[in-house]
Subunit: 378 residues, 2 copies
C-alpha cells in the first residue's frame, strides 16, 4: 500500500500539548521543529510535498501561558503509530527528549486509537470491591526494610492486617536476595496475610514486587499468583511501560497491578525538559493498565507541589474514553498529620502508602495503623 | 539463610559516584540520605544495629568539585543486587530519581559482579571485521524519512552502499506502518544492501529497527535475521535496558546491536538531577551489550558539549573488566564540516551517523557519501 493512497483514509489522531520557551518567534520555531523531529527527524523538503501534510506533525495552536512560556498543540496522524507503547513514547517525545527545552504537558487520542489500549483491568471500583471498602481512602502498608527475612516480613504483615491495612505491598528493594528469596517471601507473606484477613473478617490485598527482565518478571507473576499474592508491584521506570502493559493483557495472570515510581523521577521535567508529572504518574500508567499509581505526596520528602499532586490524581480518575479510572496512591514517609491534609486535598478515592514511619509508632505497629484509620474515618 | 550469617561472606561491591549540592554540611546530609534511600528507603534505626553496616550504602568519600558541588562516593554490597538490570538501576538511582538534586556521575563494580554482565558480543573489533575497515572512522547512513515505501527505502540504500557506507540503519520512526510493513521493509532493504555490497566487493551492514514490547521485539529480531539483516537497532529508552540485554544474550539471535537514544534524553541530568550522559550512553549500553551506542554529537542540533561527547566515547572504549569496548556513534544532522572536527576530537574508533543532510547533497547521495569518505581518509 502506498502512503499516498491512505492519505485521507485514517481519521485517527494523537494530539499532544508541549510547552516551550518564548518569545513567540522562538516558541513557533521550536514547535515547528517538534513537528519534524517527532516524525521524520529531518527537514520537511526531504518529503515530497504531497506527503508533508500526512506525515508531519501539524501545529494546531500556539498560545502564551501565564508563566511566560508557550503551549504548542501538535496533532500527529494515528497511523504513524504501531500498536506498541514504545511507538507512542517515540512519537510523543523520543527525539525531543534530547533537546532539554521541551516539556510534554499532556496528550489525547481519538477513540479509535484509544481503543487499542487496555487501561486498568480492575481500577478503583475493582480494588474497592476486593478490599470491601466503599467510601474512605485506602491504607497500604509496606513490607520493609531490606535485610529482613521472609519470616520477619510475614510477622510484620500480620501486624499490618491487625491494624487495619487494606493493602500490603513489598518494598521495591525486595527482589530475590540470598536471605530473602522471592518464592519464600511471597509464599510466607501471602499466607500470613490471607490468614490474618480471615481472622479479622475482611481481606487484605498483597502486592508482590516482581520488576525484572520480561521472562523473569512473567515467571515471577505466575509464581506469585500461584503462591497466593493478590496483586503485582511493577516499576515501569525499571522495566519499560510495554512490560506493564503485557502483564495487564495477560489473562493467565489477571491480577491488579500497582505502578511504582522507582527511576520514573528522571522522566519528570524539573526545568531541563521532560514530561509533566501528570503524564508520568497519570496518563501513561493508566493507558498501559496500572490499577494503582504510586507517586510522591506533596509535603513528603520529595519535591511535589500540592497543585501537581492533585493534577496527577485528576488524570488518574477523570473520564477518559472507556479506560477505567486508576487509584492514585501517594507516599513518601508520611506522618499522621500529613494524612489529614492529603485526604482533604485529594478526596476519597486515593490510597495512602505508609512505609517506614508506621513501624516506629510509640505504641506499636497495630496501634499506629489503627490511629491512622481513625483519622481517615473522622 | 539469615542475613547475619552472610554478613562477611560477600566481598563484591557496587561503587557509585554521585554529585550533590553544597555547602559541605548539606552535601553530607544528602549523601547520607542516598545511603538510606537507595537501600532501605527509611531511617537507619529501622534496621537492627548488626545489619546496618551490611545493608546500608556506605559513604566512602566526600569531596568538593571544581564547580562547587560535592562528589560522594558510596559503596553498596553486591548481594543487594539480583541479576537483573532493573535491580541495578533501582540501587543506582531508583529513589534518588524522585529528588531532583542528585546526579549519578559514574559507577564501578568488583570483578565478581561485573562478570555477570555480558557486554558487547562483537564490540569495536567485531564490527570492524564485519565491514572490513581497520583504521578509519565508520560511516553509517540512515533509511528515512518516514513516509517512504520499502521499495523507495531499498533504492536509497543502494545509493548509500555505492557511496561507500559501512553501515546502514533504519530510522527509529520506521516501525510497522501500513505503507511500510516491517517484513517487507527489512526484506527489501537487506536484499538490496547485500547485493550492492557484493557488487562493490565489500559488505555493508544493515541494522533493522525492532524496538517494541518484548514478545514483538524478539519475534522481529528473529524475523530480521532470517530476512538478512546483519544487525538490530533498539532504543532502550523505549524498551528498557533489560530488553537489550536479553537480546544480546540470546544465542539464537547473535547479531550486533546498536542502541538508539530515543527518549534517553530524559535520563540525562540537565540541572534538575539525573544521570551523567556518560552513564546513559556509555556505561549502561556497554554493560547490557550494545555494540554501537548512538548519541548526539557536539556541534549538532542537540545540546552536547565537546567535553561530554568525548567523555562518553572514552566510557565506551576504555578498559572495563573483560567487557569488550563498544563503538561510539555520533549523529544529529551532521554536515561535512563538523565531521572533520568530530574526527579530530573523538579519534579513529567512532562511527558517524549521516542522516538527512546526505540526501540533499548537491551532486546526489552517492557523490555526497564519497565526499565524506575522502574527508575521513585525508
Amino acid at each position: 500500500m502506498d502512503m499516498k493512497t491512505t492519505a485521507h483514509a485514517n481519521p485517527e489522531f494523537l494530539t499532544v500539548i508541549y510547552e516551550v520557551e518564548g518569545p513567540e518567534s522562538q516558541a513557533r520555531s521550536t514547535a515547528t521543529r517538534i513537528c519534524l523531529d517527532q516524525t521524520i527527524e529531518a527537514e520537511s523538503n526531504l518529503l515530497p510535498p504531497s506527503l508533508r501534510s500526512t506525515i508531519l506533525g501539524f501545529l494546531e495552536d500556539l498560545r502564551a501561558t501565564v508563566e511566560g512560556r508557550y503551549q504548542a498543540t501538535i496533532r500527529f496522524r494515528g497511523d504513524l503509530l504501531g500498536g506498541e507503547c514504545s511507538d507512542l513514547l517515540n512519537i510523543l517525545f523520543g527525539t525531543s527528549s534530547l533537546r532539554g527545552d521541551v516539556t510534554l504537558r499532556s496528550f489525547a487520542m481519538t477513540n479509535g486509537l484509544l481503543a487499542s489500549w487496555p487501561g486498568p483491568r480492575f481500577g478503583i471500583d475493582g480494588i474497592r470491591q476486593m478490599v470491601g471498602v466503599v467510601r474512605r481512602p485506602l491504607l497500604c502498608a509496606v513490607l520493609k526494610p531490606l535485610g529482613r527475612t521472609p519470616r520477619e516480613l510475614a510477622e510484620l504483615a500480620v501486624q499490618f492486617v491487625e491494624g487495619g491495612a487494606d493493602v500490603i505491598k513489598d518494598d521495591q528493594s525486595l527482589v530475590d536476595q540470598d536471605w530473602c528469596r522471592f518464592d519464600e517471601r511471597v509464599s510466607r507473606c501471602a499466607e500470613a496475610i490471607a490468614r490474618a484477613g480471615t481472622r479479622r473478617g475482611r481481606p487484605c490485598l498483597y502486592f508482590a514486587h516482581i520488576s525484572a527482565a520480561w521472562d523473569t518478571m512473567r515467571r515471577r507473576a505466575v509464581l506469585a499468583k500461584s503462591l497466593g499474592a493478590s496483586g503485582l508491584l511493577v516499576a515501569p521506570g525499571l522495566t519499560g511501560f510495554d512490560a506493564l502493559r503485557a502483564l495487564r493483557s495477560d489473562d493467565e495472570i489477571a491480577l491488579p497491578i500497582a505502578g511504582h515510581p522507582s527511576m520514573l523521577g528522571t522522566l519528570v521535567d524539573r526545568g531541563g525538559g521532560g514530561l509533566a508529572s501528570s503524564v508520568v504518574y497519570g496518563l501513561l500508567p493508566r493507558l498501559v493498565g496500572s490499577d494503582l499509581s504510586i507517586y510522591p505526596a506533596f509535603g513528603s520528602d520529595y519535591p511535589m507541589s500540592q497543585q501537581a499532586c492533585v493534577l496527577i490524581a485528576e488524570h488518574c480518575r477523570r473520564t477518559w474514553g472507556s479506560l477505567k479510572p486508576l487509584m492514585p496512591a501517594v507516599g513518601g514517609r508520611l506522618g499522621s498529620g500529613s494524612l489529614v491534609e492529603l485526604n482533604s486535598a485529594l478526596g476519597m478515592d486515593v490510597m495512602f502508602i505508609v512505609g517506614s514511619r508506621i513501624q516506629q509508632s510509640p505504641d506499636g505497629v497495630v496501634a499506629g495503623m489503627q490511629e491512622l484509620h481513625r483519622l481517615l474515618k473522622d
